[in-house]
Symmetry: C2
């Protein structure tokens, strides 16, 4: 038993969709969340800059006595996870491996699609992991750079011609290629599930990376006897910038209000 | 005569539209450009964070022997210009005052619209300046948070249903209110001129803030005898992050290739 909190971070508030999954799957765990809202979005930045930001995010979370870290950011998971694991002596879980394992498991025909940020797609991390698990899989990736700003501006609902047009364009090559499974490789994308499902059709399985990471976290903590005892579930939220519409955006991702957000000067870490 | 360069900065590459105007209006001037591409966009961040970033941007430009600074970023111009001027002993020009002066001059009915980032609109800087110049003006402002990501993803052309739908929605209240002049209060927006003009109609004058700032710069340098001598026009470009599509985006704004971009670790300033 280990009641120390789990650190979770993302470039911004999208990682709150992962917090929502961790709450559901591991309701007794204590969580410390950090969103790097002063530097969001990460998805278009260079690997060098991503590594610098990710190291600072981890150093901040490690200023608390935490037992594990969940990298809820797809872009950091694909570009900096190896270095973060080498440099830190606690379990660090990314979103790539659990999502790939799930995709390989549910895919009937081995035709797996990935949508993610430009930096995630460029890294090739999902393809490598899928092919390691299933060498005869066909993997097709598509960067979707407008999905994050659209979601952050509340444009993820069915019937919105803007997001539906963008989704049809981004997803067309994946649909044409006949993928049977699609990894939603960014924590913002679960909010687009309806729009994406409408385009791809009911025969395509959608993989929520935050949800798969939460299940992987449960397996890891269970295996090492590090689950928290029942009835705790305390949470604390930190962000590097708190602007006017912070609460409204947070509510979209977490499905409830955040009571209090603490401000962090992340460049100091 | 003063051949020292002019420093120009923006949150990202949008300020290159202002460089393009300075080149046209002041072809002999030497320019040092900094784009804070590791932290772009600024438009949704808090005033506190904007002030921190703007101070670092200015400190970096002042590591060169420059004669003036043009704040090509609408969000910094509206949120941090007073502080930057108080703290620095060289001319610092923003985009607000020249654009407002021009708008008041060309507006026939005194009904002036502003489109800008959320932080710029929230600041109220344009309204205050317009009303100071023309107390009976009617000013209507509208934040357009999706315009920057749309432009950065190349979606600013006539006939693109995505940008045209977003533009119609954002501009509807301005059109309904019968504005006769519209300030494009962000350096990305000149690329949207066709789309915006189509929605607003030919009777509405559009004000390019970068262009007005370049004219103001010419007046300032002329008045103080600080124009550069003929036939120089050297330029150097710096950015805090150089990712894969940097050159392509830069070309859209500057109408030509940037020969070389130097990398800057902006947090050190």
């Amino acid at each position: 038993m280990d009641n120390r909190p789990i650190g979770v971070f993302d470039s911004g508030l999208g990682g709150l969709t992962a917090v929502s999954e961790i709450r559901r799957i591991l309701p007794s765990e204590n969580i410390i969340y950090f969103g790097d809202t002063s530097r969001v979005p990460y998805g278009g930045r260079s690997r060098e800059t991503l590594l610098k930001y990710a190291r600072q995010d981890v150093r901040f979370l490690r200023s608390f006595d935490i037992k594990a870290i969940v990298v809820a950011c797809g872009t950091v998971s694909t570009n900096a996870l190896t270095e973060l694991r080498q440099e830190n002596d606690l379990p660090i879980l990314g979103v790539v491996d659990p999502a790939c394992a799930r995709a390989v498991k549910v895919s009937k025909g081995g035709r797996i699609g990935l949508i993610a940020t430009a930096a995630s797609v460029r890294s090739g991390a999902y393809e490598r992991q899928i092919l390691a698990l299933k060498p005869d899989a066909a993997v097709l990736s598509k960067p979707c750079p407008l999905f994050v700003p659209l979601v952050e501006n509340g444009r993820y609902h069915r019937g919105d011609v803007v997001v539906e047009t963008v989704a049809r364009e981004y997803l067309a090559p994946l649909k044409d290629a006949g993928v049977d499974t699609l990894i939603l490789g960014c924590t913002h994308y679960p909010l687009l599930t309806d729009v994406i499902a409408d385009v791809m059709g009911s025969g395509v399985a959608l993989i929520n990376t935050g949800g798969e990471a939460a299940w992987e976290l449960k397996r890891t903590l269970t295996a090492s006897g590090a689950l928290a005892q029942e009835r705790q579930g305390g949470e604390a939220f930190y962000a590097s910038d708190i602007s006017g519409d912070f609460s409204a955006i947070a509510r979209e991702f977490l499905h409830e209000d955040i009571p209090h957000v603490h401000s962090v000067e992340i460049e100091r870490y």
